[in-house]
Symmetry: D3
C-alpha cells in the first residue's frame, strides 16, 4: 500500500449498535469476540473513567509528525473516533488542545493514538478522552505524508476504517464493522450470564462449583495437603 492516500467515504456501523456496544465495556466485548480485537495494554487513558465508542477514522503517520491528523479531521463525522498508528515507536505529543478543539467541532468522540499526547490538563477539562502510549509535551513537525482511512496496525491490532472502537479504563477493543451486530448480541448474552454468576459469587458460592471445575482439576492431578511439610513427603 502506497502512502499519501486519503479515503473519503467509509462505511460505518449503525449508531444504535455503536451506542449499545459502548455500554458493554471493553472486557466483555473482547470476550464475546472469542478473546480477540484488543490493542496492547501500553495504551492508557489520560484520565480515569474515560469511555468512548465510535467509528474508526484511521491515520497512518510518521513518528513526530502530526500533519495527517489535520487531514483526517476533515474526513470525520459526528460519532467518529480517530485512530492514529505511527510507522515507528514514538512518544511525541502529536495531539493537544488545539487539535482536540477542532475534533470536537467536527463531532469526534475521542482519540486512540500509538504515540504521545499533550495538553492533558486542558483535554481533561474538556472531557475529550484520549488513549495514548505516553504523555509528552514534545512538539511535532508537519513535513511528511501518511494516509487516512487505510487499514492500519495500531498497538498490535488491525483496524479498518469504519470498524467500531470501544475504549474504557481497561483498554481498547476493535470490533470489525461487519460483525458489530453479532458481537453486540454475544456481549449482551455474556452480560446476562455474568449477572447471574455475580449474584451467586456474591453469596459465597465458589467459581470452583459454579463452573464445575473440580473434576477437571482432579483429572489433571491437583493434590490437596494440609501442610507444606505433608506435601514435601509425597
Amino acid at each position: 500500500m502506497k502512502t499519501g492516500i486519503v479515503i473519503r467515504k467509509i462505511p460505518r456501523a449503525p449508531k444504535e449498535t455503536i451506542e449499545a456496544l459502548g455500554r458493554c465495556g471493553v472486557a466483555t466485548i473482547h470476550e464475546a469476540m472469542g478473546r480477540a480485537g484488543l490493542m496492547k495494554p501500553y495504551l492508557r487513558p489520560i484520565y480515569g473513567g474515560a469511555v468512548c465508542a465510535g467509528s474508526a477514522v484511521t491515520v497512518l503517520a510518521q513518528p513526530g509528525d502530526n500533519w495527517m491528523i489535520h487531514v483526517a479531521v476533515e474526513q470525520c463525522q459526528p460519532g467518529d473516533v480517530l485512530v492514529v498508528a505511527v510507522t515507528a515507536d514514538n512518544t511525541d505529543g502529536m495531539f493537544g488542545e488545539l487539535l482536540a478543539t477542532s475534533a470536537v467541532a467536527h463531532g469526534v468522540r475521542g482519540l486512540v493514538i500509538d504515540a504521545g499526547c499533550r495538553d492533558v490538563a486542558a483535554l481533561t477539562a474538556m472531557r475529550f478522552p484520549v488513549w495514548s502510549r505516553a504523555i509528552s509535551a514534545r512538539g511535532t513537525v508537519k513535513a511528511t505524508l501518511g494516509s487516512v482511512n487505510v487499514p492500519v496496525v495500531c498497538a498490535g491490532a488491525e483496524v479498518q476504517a469504519g470498524d467500531v472502537i470501544v475504549a474504557d479504563d481497561d483498554g481498547i477493543v476493535v470490533v470489525p464493522r461487519a460483525s458489530a451486530a453479532e458481537v453486540l448480541a454475544a456481549s449482551n448474552a455474556r452480560m446476562a450470564k455474568e449477572d447471574i454468576k455475580r449474584a451467586r459469587l456474591s453469596s459465597g458460592e465458589l467459581g470452583l462449583d459454579i463452573e464445575n471445575m473440580r473434576p477437571k482439576l482432579d483429572a489433571l492431578g491437583l493434590k490437596y495437603f494440609d501442610t507444606i511439610e505433608e506435601a514435601g513427603r509425597q
Copy 2:
C-alpha cells in the same frame, strides 16, 4: 517443588499485629526491616489511596491462565490478601470484577498480582484494592495447574503463605510471619523518631545538622565554592 499442589492450613500472624502494621505504611516497615522485603516498583495500585494489610494466600499461575486463583479463593479466610506470582512475565487481565466479588464474599482484603488486572472501573467502585503490573482487558484460559500456598517469588520478593502483606501508594512489603511482632515494634519506634525529626525539619533545621552529617562529608572531601568558576580553578 512440583506444581499442582494446594496447601489448606497455613499459619497466620495475630490480627492486631496485622492491623497495627497496616497503620505503619510500606516505607516505614521496609526501613524497619533493614531495607528489605519490598516488591519491585512496577507493581502499582489501580486507584490512588489504596491501602491493604493481611495474611498472604499465595498462588503460582501460568501466564494467561487464572484457574488457580479460583482454587485459591476457597482457601481464603477473612483478612487474607491474595498474592499471585506467574511463571513468566505477563500482563493479561487475570483478575476482574467477578473474581473480586467472590473474593470479597470470602473476606479477602485485596490482591497483589505480578500480571494484569481488568474491570478496574468496577473494582474501584467496589474499593477492592489491587496492585498489578498492568491493566489489561485480555482474557485468560483455565487450562493448566499451578499451586496454592507454596512459597513464591512475586515481583522480586519471596512470599511464604501466611506472611503479612502491607500495601499502599508506595508499593508492597512482605513481612515474614515469624518476625511480624518484632517488625511492628521497630516500625513504631521509627515512627516516633520521625515525628521528632519532622518537627525539627519543619522549623527549618537542616538534616545536615540533625543527623550530624557535616564531619563525615568533610572527611570524605566535600568542598564548597562560591561559584562554578572558583571550583574550576581548583
Copy 3:
C-alpha cells in the same frame, strides 16, 4: 568535572519572569524555544494537576544514595526547585515526606528527580509536587559524595543551576536563565496566536485551511479517493 563539589552562589532569573513562565505551561514554552529544552516523558508527576515554576538547584547523586539532597537543601532559597540527576538509571525512593518537610521549610517549590520518590500519599496531602521516574518505597543510603549546583543531564536535558524549571501534567521544560525573558515573550506571543486559532477551530474551520496546508500537501502528492478500492486501482 570532579564530584564532591557544592556551589553556594547561583544566579537566578527575576521572580516575575519565573511566575509568568509558570503561567505559560510546558508545551507552550517548549514550542516557543524552538521545540527544545524538554526532559524525557518518563518523568511523571506524582499527582494530577501538579504545576511548578522556579530556579533550578541541581544535584548529582549516586544511585540509591540521597545524601546530596540533604546537602542541596541548605543551598535552596524560596522559589527554588530541586533537580536531581543520578549517575545511573535508578528507581529507589530517594525523596520522601521528611525531606519534603525540610524543603518546604526552606521555600522549595517542588522536585524533579530522575529516580524514585516515596511517601506519595503524604506528599500529595502536602501538595508538594514531584516529577519522578518511579514511585518506590525502597530506602537509600548516605555513603557517597556527589555534587550540588554543577551542570547535570537530567532525563535527557542539560540543566545549569539557576535555569528556570517549569513543570506541569505534560512534563518538564528547562529554560536557560539567560534567555528566560526572551522565551517568555515568545511564549506569550504564541499563546495570543493560539487564542485566535482556538476560536477559529472551535467554529469548525479546519487546520488545513487556517494554516493553508492544502497546496503543500498537493505538491507532495497527497491523493484523495472515494473508496479504498478506487485507490487500489491506481
Copy 4:
C-alpha cells in the same frame, strides 16, 4: 475470528520469486514497498548472518503454550517459514531443538516468533535460523487451542498465510503474496540505482549533491556559520 481453526491449503508465491526476494535483503524490500511491511525491531536473529526467505505458515498461540506449533508443522511444505504470533507479550522458550528437528524434516527454512526461543546453541549448530523477541529456557505447556494459517499480527505486522517472509540481520519484512513479483521488480530496480549511488559516494561525492538536496535545505532555511559564536549572534 474464532480460534481453534487450521487451514490446510494456502496459496504460495512462485519459488523463483521467493528466492530472488531473498537475495534483495530486508532493507531494500521494505523501501521498495514504500517503507512498509516491517516487523518491529525487537525481534532479533539468534545468530549473526542468519538469512531466510519463504512462504508464511502462520500460527496464533496462547502465551506459554506451543501446542499449535506442532499442529502447524504438519501443514508445512519445503520452503515454508513458520510465523508465530502470541495473544499476549511473552518471552517463554516456545521453540527449541526438537521442534526444529521436526521442522527441518518437513523442509521448513526458519522461524519468526513473537516470543522466546531456546536451545540456541543447538539451533545455531544446525544453522536453523530463528528471529525471536527473547532467548529463554522457560518451558511451555500444551493446553489451549489457537489457530494455524489464519491472518495474524506478529510484532506489529499483519501476515497472511502464504505471504513471502524475508529475514536477515536487519529484521523481517512481510511481502503480500499478490504483490511479490511487483515488489521484486521494484527491489531489483532499487538495487541497480544503489549500485550507481554507492560508486559515486565511494569516490567522495556527497549525498547533498547526488540527490540535489541543497536547494531544498536552503529553501527551508538551513544556515551555515563558521563558529558557534557566530551562530549565537544571529
Copy 5:
C-alpha cells in the same frame, strides 16, 4: 535478615553431580525440575557459547557498589560460581577484568549478576563467563555493606548459598543443593527420551503422532478446513 553479614561455611553438592548437571544444559534441567528454577531471561551471557556449572556463593549488594564482591571472593573455593543480587534494578559495571583475575585465582568458574559488567573484551579473551543484565563501563563505589552467602532473589529466582548453578546460552537455572542428585537423574532420563524423540522427528514423524495429541485436540474442538473462506462459512 540484617545486612552486613558474611557466612563462611556453606554446604556444596558433590563435584561429580555438578559436572554431570553441567552436561545436561539449562533447558533440560529446568524441565526436569518441573519447569522451575529459572532466572529471568534478561540475564544474557557476554559471549556466545559460554557454559558454566558450580556452587553458588551469593552476594547481596547495593546498586552501584561492588564492595561485597571483593568480600565474597575470599569465601570462594575452586568450582564456585558468584551470584550477585542487587537491592534495586541497576546496570552499572560492577564487575570487570581485575575482579575476574582475582576470581580466577581463587578457582571461580563464572559470574551471574543482576546488574552490569564491563571489560567484556578482556573477559571474553580470558573465557571467564558472565551472565549479566547489561554491559556498561559505569564504575562503582565501595561504600555500603551488603551480605555474602545469605539467601537472595536474583533475576526472579531464589538462590541459597551452595545451590548448584548451571548457565549456558539459554539462561541460568538454580538447582537446590538438596535435590541435585534427584534433578540429575531426572535430567538424564529426559535426555534419553529426547534422543529417541529426536530420531523419530528427524525421520519426519510428527509430534502430533509421537505424543498422541490428535484425540485431545479433537476433544477440545480443533477444526480443519481447506480454505479460510470455508472456515468463515462455519
Copy 6:
C-alpha cells in the same frame, strides 16, 4: 538554540592524543575522568570487538529523518566520528551502507547514534563500527531541518563538537576536548596502577588486602559467621 544551523569550523584535539586515548579503552577513561562522561548502556556496537576513537561531529536530527547526517558528512574530516542525537526516542534505521560508504570516503571512523542502524551485515563486512540503540531496517525521510556541530545530549551525555569520542565493547565515553591531555595522563597512570594490581590479584592476593578494606568494613559493622544459623542467633 534554534535548529537549522550548521557550524563549519570546529576545534579538534591533537591526533596523537586521540590515538592514545583510543588505546586506553572506555572503562579506564571513564574512571580517570572521575566516573563521568559515559553514554547510557543501551547503545551497543553492531559487532563484537568494535573500537573507535575520533573527534565528534555532532548531529541533532528529528526522529525518522536522516537528512542532517548527509549535511554532516560534508563537515567531516579524516579522523572524525559522527555523533547523532535525536529529538525523541526512536529506533528507525537512520544509517546504512550507503551513508557509511560516503562517510568512509571522507575519513569518518565510526558512528554513535541514539537511534537505529541498518545494513549491519554490510557494515560489519566493511568494518565500519556503529554504536546504536537498535538495529532496524525501517527507512527514514528527508523532510525536516536539524543542526550540525551544535551541543547535543546523546544517550544521556552532553557532547560538544570536537570532543573526543572513544567507543568499544563496553560503551562510549565523551572526553571534553579541553581536558583530553589531562584525561590521557590520568588514564595512563590508572593503567599502570592496574597492571600492578592485576599481577597481585593473579597471584591470589585479595582486593580486601591490596586495598586495605578490612578496617573500614569492620568499622561499618560487617560481621562474619560460620553458618547462617549462627548469624540468625545474633
